[in-house]
């Protein structure tokens, strides 16, 4: 008998749970009754199941009526007054805005986060927060729109939204076109953007404008000159360079500037036993993945960026089927054939490469890397003995004829106002304030005087090869460590800032922060100066770069349908040509024809249309 009762109880439990949802969306009394019924676990007979089913349609009707009533109540009251642009607080009166942000593991608790509280105090607006899981943030937001958008909060924040999805959402009416609000109300953001070294307000706006002219969000931006010119660098193990007699630093801290010098050095590495173990196991060059390989060696032939499309005097051209690209492939293949390039470069990941570098016996003479943060070994020997070099001149060319890959910085959007927002003016004003220089700083470093200081007497330093430097900007920002009273450091769990989420514009001044102990020995001079040199090299070539394309729906469709297989094919063949799987001489024409068959020319026309529309 016990089992019978248990079975019946379980059955009733499940049935109740099934309708728990219905009752929850109705009145609160229904909810509590369902809960108490569950808790009491009263014994019921089987026929009751059928009774409950009959109850269901009745419950749905009162639910629907209540929903209609709620909608009438929510009619905008318009009791809040938004102050003039630039003024704080932003509203006179009570206003609550609801936000959705992705979970961020570095932020302890947003509700008590110093920046969150600060924003509310200064703006006079109350915030309500929903946090979505970070991994599927976009999927969830997109799904909410696809399902009608009724449960969207006022503002979607954090996690960048691309132009294409925003355009789709905006045209469907789920998010608002902020163009007019931006022009009328934005005060701090234009200032912040115009203070940037590599962009300005108009450019940034243009980058987030959709093809129909609407601006469906507020721009964010972070300047990091290192990122702009860091693709394709090669890192050399200096003790061997010295042994080879090639560590001749010039005034700018560079020591290898042409491909000829590079090949010379690699030959020496191959034929000398630098690690002294009697085996010819020295590897001149290794890497992880093909991107940095391409950026290191193709631009010197291409004389433009490695992207599949580039611009030549207003005409969009393709890279992957050009003769210069073919030259580049021959060069890389040559590196492989001569044994200079490690074939594992094409497939291994950085853990494996790092394992080789930090192995007991040093076997790596140089390796390819993109940017510093990708391979954080600079405080672990022997990697402290590595130095950069970057853009090389092509074989036979002069060292003044160099081309460096330029990664254009694009403004992105992580602040979007939805149709459910009562007061878009307040939302835009808030975003404007959030993205101001001062608040962006707080969002990254914390509050002045508590978490960081402005220092103007920062010393310079010297690296181990005798290169010295001064300090560029007059005022530098130095974060405080725990010992000096700072409350957190970047990347750790803290409750002071929100990790650049929201609206944020960080300019070059921010980017040149000093080390915590007021010296610069953590930032090699050659990098800093190389940035300046390289940036000047690339300045004249910036117009060739085509980035930040904004597509219409049909164009985006073509991109997905036609371009995706093409891009995969180009990528695949790059490796196969270099490795010798495909013959550069014999199979090239097949390859080009295949690209044509796949529709490359048609698609190039699409890109041309985009370019003409965006840049005239």
């Amino acid at each position: 008998m016990n089992k019978k009762i248990l079975a019946i109880l379980l059955a009733c439990l499940m049935v109740l749970a099934l309708f728990a949802g219905c009752s929850k969306s109705g009145t609160k009394t229904d909810d509590s009754s369902a809960a108490t019924e569950k808790k009491e676990e009263t014994k019921k007979e089987e026929p009751k199941k059928e009774e409950k089913k009959k109850e269901e349609p009745k419950k749905e009707e009162p639910k629907k009526e209540e929903k209609k009533e709620e909608k009438k109540e929510e009619a905008p009251a318009d009791a809040v007054e938004v102050t003039a642009p630039g003024q704080l607080p932003i509203v006179n009166g009570d206003l609550t805005l609801s936000f959705a942000m992705p979970l961020n593991a570095t932020v302890e608790d947003r509700e008590t986060n110093a920046l969150w509280v600060y924003l509310q105090e200064e703006s006079g607006i109350k915030f309500e927060l929903e946090e979505y899981a970070g991994d599927e943030y976009h999927t969830k937001v997109d799904l909410m729109m696809a399902a009608g958008g009724a449960d969207l909060p006022d503002i979607l924040c954090g996690g960048s939204f691309g132009v294409t999805p925003r355009t789709t959402w905006g045209q469907a009416g789920f998010i608002l076109d902020l163009k007019d609000y931006i022009n009328e109300l934005c005060f701090y953001l234009p200032m912040a953007f115009n203070n940037c070294m590599y962009t300005d307000w108009d450019t940034a706006l243009a980058q987030i404008t959709s093809y129909d002219g609407g601006i469906y969000g507020l721009p964010s931006y972070a300047e990091s000159p290192n990122d702009r010119v860091s693709n394709g660098r090669i890192n050399f193990y200096m003790p061997w360079v010295e042994k080879a007699g090639m560590a001749n630093f010039d005034d700018n801290g560079e020591f290898i500037k042409t491909a000829d010098q590079l090949l010379e050095y690699y030959e020496i590495v191959k034929t000398s036993d630098f690690n002294g173990n009697g085996k010819a196991d020295e590897i001149p060059l290794t890497g992880y993945g093909t991107w940095n390989l391409k950026c290191a060696f193709l631009p010197m032939f291409l004389k433009h960026n490695v992207d599949n499309f580039w611009v030549d005097n207003g005409v969009v051209k393709t890279t992957a089927d050009s003769d210069e690209y073919r030259e580049g492939l021959r060069f890389i293949k040559g590196l492989l054939d001569k044994g200079y390039l490690d074939p594992l470069t094409f497939t291994q990941d950085h853990a494996a490469m790092t394992a080789m570098i930090t192995a007991e016996t040093m076997t790596i003479a140089s390796y390819l890397r993109i940017s510093a943060s990708n391979l954080n070994l600079t405080t672990v020997p022997p990697s402290t003995d590595f130095e950069w070099c970057s853009a090389l001149a092509a074989p036979g060319a002069d060292e003044s004829d160099r081309f460096q890959y330029y990664g254009k910085a694009i403004a992105y959007t992580q602040y979007v106002v939805t149709k459910n927002c009562e007061s878009p003016e307040a939302a835009v004003r808030l975003g404007d304030f959030w993205g101001s220089e001062d608040v962006s700083f707080i969002n990254n470093c914390g509050f002045e005087g508590i978490d960081w200081d402005a220092v103007s007497d920062l010393e310079g330093g010297a690296d181990k090869w005798g290169n010295t430097w001064g300090w560029g900007p007059e005022d530098t920002y130095v974060r405080r460590t725990a010992e000096t009273g700072g409350r957190a450091s970047w990347g750790t769990m803290q409750n002071v800032w929100m990790g650049n989420q929201g609206v944020s514009c960080l300019n070059y001044d921010w980017a040149t922060q000093g080390g915590a102990d007021k010296t610069l020995d953590t930032w090699p001079m050659s990098v800093r100066n190389a940035n300046r040199i390289l940036y000047n090299i690339t300045l004249s070539n910036q117009d060739n770069v085509f980035a930040g394309q904004v597509y219409t729906a049909e164009e985006a469709d073509m991109n997905a349908n036609v371009y995706t297989p093409i891009a995969t094919y180009i990528e695949e063949c790059f490796t196969r040509f270099c490795m010798g799987d495909l013959d550069i001489e014999k199979d090239w024409d097949n390859y080009v024809n295949e690209l044509k068959k796949m529709g490359l020319e048609d698609y190039t026309a699409v890109e041309q249309a985009v370019y003409t529309r965006m840049f005239g």
């Binding site: 729109m145 691309g162 080789m356 991109n559």
Partner: protein, 306 residues
């Protein structure tokens, strides 16, 4: 007819009552949303929703079939799936049969616990372990290879012919322990009297396995096989995506990775209609396979799905 129907209900009313709750569940949670399948024949408009979006007939399918990648993607998916099933299906069964013969209880339990642990290792970590293990220079495989042959091992991840074995065997390796649980449970239901009778008749241990154990779990085997074949076009996405490299791409690009890359290409908006169409295609093919195999099974043996 009606009287036959009511008679049946009266006789078995308790059984029908049992079925009522699951049927209602499935009705709500599976059949009600199934209407969304129509999206495969439409072009999705955010404002109009699923019901209001315009019909485009087989447009989504046409996009899928006429795509340059289609042939390659289909061949790879089918090949990987079939080989994986052929190679992987017997292993958990054999392992369960073997383990069932073991006397030492503690050994048996330890083995069970150890072999089912890899199932919990996430795909990302598993592929990471694989890459590290097979690295030609610093991986265990590479080191042993050099030790025995003096030459440096080839890069298995750059070899198209190595992809299938790597993918399939690592899958078997990770999953056989977990997969054997079901068979072990079925084996535990075998009446010991049958074994006693067999021993009296002079059967060796092996014969006992052959004539008692295997027939006992044959229904489970058949059903599992039918279900495996009925999910042929369902090659998982994450593991393949992580194991792909430029060199093996032509044998490793499958339907799921293709759909994923395509989704990224248009800037991040999920193309619901397209993925619904592809999903529908997958499911129809799988269903046809299922019905076919089930038919064969019902003709050949007593066990089948329906």
């Amino acid at each position: 007819m009606l009287s036959k129907f009511t008679r049946a209900i009266r006789r078995h009313w308790q059984l029908y009552l049992f079925l009522l709750l699951p049927a209602v569940y499935i009705g709500i949670f599976a059949y009600y949303p199934m209407t969304g399948v129509q999206l495969a024949f439409k072009k999705f408009d955010y404002n109009l929703g699923i019901w209001g979006s315009p019909w485009v007939g087989f447009e989504q399918f046409r996009k899928f079939f006429s795509n340059y990648m289609f042939e390659r993607v289909m061949t790879n998916t089918i090949r990987i799936s079939v080989l994986g099933t052929i190679a992987g299906f017997p292993v958990p069964i054999i392992f369960a049969l073997c383990l069932n013969c073991v006397f030492h209880l503690r050994y048996k339990r330890t083995v069970q616990t150890i072999t089912y642990m890899p199932h919990f290792i996430s795909t990302v970590v598993m592929v990471g372990i694989l890459k590290q293990f097979f690295h030609p220079r610093v991986g265990v495989y590479g080191i042993f290879y050099t030790m025995f042959t003096g030459a440096t091992a080839g890069d298995l991840f750059a070899s198209p012919s190595a992809f299938d074995p790597l993918y399939i065997f690592s899958g078997i390796w990770q999953g056989f322990g977990w997969g054997s649980i079901l068979y072990l449970a079925a084996l535990s239901g075998v009446s010991p009297e049958l074994h006693e009778a067999a021993m009296i008749d002079g059967a060796t241990r092996f014969q006992r396995v052959h004539y008692v154990d295997i027939p006992a779990i044959m229904p489970t085997i058949i059903i599992t096989l039918i279900m495996s074949i009925g999910s042929l076009l369902g090659v998982g996405f994450e593991k393949i995506f992580l194991m792909q490299t430029d060199m093996n791409m032509r044998v490793s690009e499958v339907i799921s990775t293709y759909v994923y890359k395509r989704g990224l290409g248009s800037g991040g908006n999920s193309d619901y209609a397209f993925s619904t169409a592809v999903g529908l295609f997958n499911n129809v093919v799988n269903l046809i396979l299922l019905i076919t195999v089930n038919k064969i099974a019902s003709m050949v043996s007593e066990t089948s799905l329906w």
